[in-house]
């Protein structure tokens, strides 16, 4: 008796089942579930559904967060490239302005130097020719 009590205590809470044949103390052949197994069968579908919904929500949240990070990184890259572009354009504009200044100042000096040189040289040549060929 003591042994059977110990066995009952050890089996308490464990889900178990067995099969019943015809004319065994049941109205038809079938499966017999103890209270724990029956409770498990009743609760399991709902529990599986809840866990499935939770898993979905968890995975979606993770994906959303990951995509949010990707978008933020892309925005950072875009902003950086935009500023880089603006800066490069400004630097090139400045460079062009400097080069234009050099070109314009060079052209100005060259034009007047050549004009004055031509005028003086022409006059000197004319005068020298006049003096050289004028025998009188």
């Amino acid at each position: 008796m003591y042994l059977s009590l110990l066995m009952a205590a050890a089996n308490a809470g464990e889900a178990r089942f067995t099969f019943l044949g015809v004319n065994e103390p049941a109205p038809f052949e079938g499966a017999l579930f103890n209270p724990e197994a029956t409770a498990e069968l009743i609760v399991a579908p709902k529990e599986v559904q809840l866990n499935c919904d939770l898993e979905f929500e968890y995975q979606i949240d993770l994906l959303q967060t990951e995509h949010q990070l990707v978008i933020q990184n892309m925005n950072s890259r875009y902003n950086a490239l935009n500023v880089e572009y603006q800066q490069a354009i400004s630097a090139k504009d400045l460079q062009i302005e400097n080069l234009e200044t050099v070109i314009s100042s060079n052209s100005g000096v060259s034009k007047w130097v050549w004009f004055t040189g031509g005028l003086v040289g022409g006059s000197a040549l004319t005068y020298s020719a006049y003096r050289a060929f004028n025998v009188n």
Binding site: P35, A39, I42, L54, Y58, Q68, S76, Q95, V109
Partner: protein
């Protein structure tokens, strides 16, 4: 001769100005790069915090489901001796089986 010196001076000035502009551009690029890295670090930190939060919520929800299911199991086990009709109703509703007394 004077003209040539003048040209060389102007070219040097222009080169110095271009060099200065390039140096400023390099400094600007360094700053832009540092800002971008800081933004990315911040985004990564936020991502990590968010993931920790999601995982905590997930584990808590799992525990809550487990707790509620366990309570429900215990209720149904009790129903075997206290409220068989509740058990019959639950099985009938969930599986559509017919109860035979």
């Amino acid at each position: 001769m004077l003209k040539s010196k003048h040209d060389i001076k102007q070219m040097r000035d222009s080169h110095a100005a271009a060099e200065q502009a390039m140096m400023e551009q390099i400094e600007g690029l360094k700053q832009i790069h540092a800002d971008e890295i800081a933004e990315r670090e911040k985004a990564l930190q936020e991502y990590k915090e968010r993931v920790v939060e999601i995982e905590e919520r997930y584990i808590n929800a799992q525990d809550e489901i487990e707790r509620l299911s366990q309570e429900e199991r215990q209720e149904f086990v009790k129903d075997f001796s206290l409220n068989k009709q509740n058990l019959i109703d639950a099985i009938t509703q969930r599986y559509g089986f017919t109860y035979v007394p």
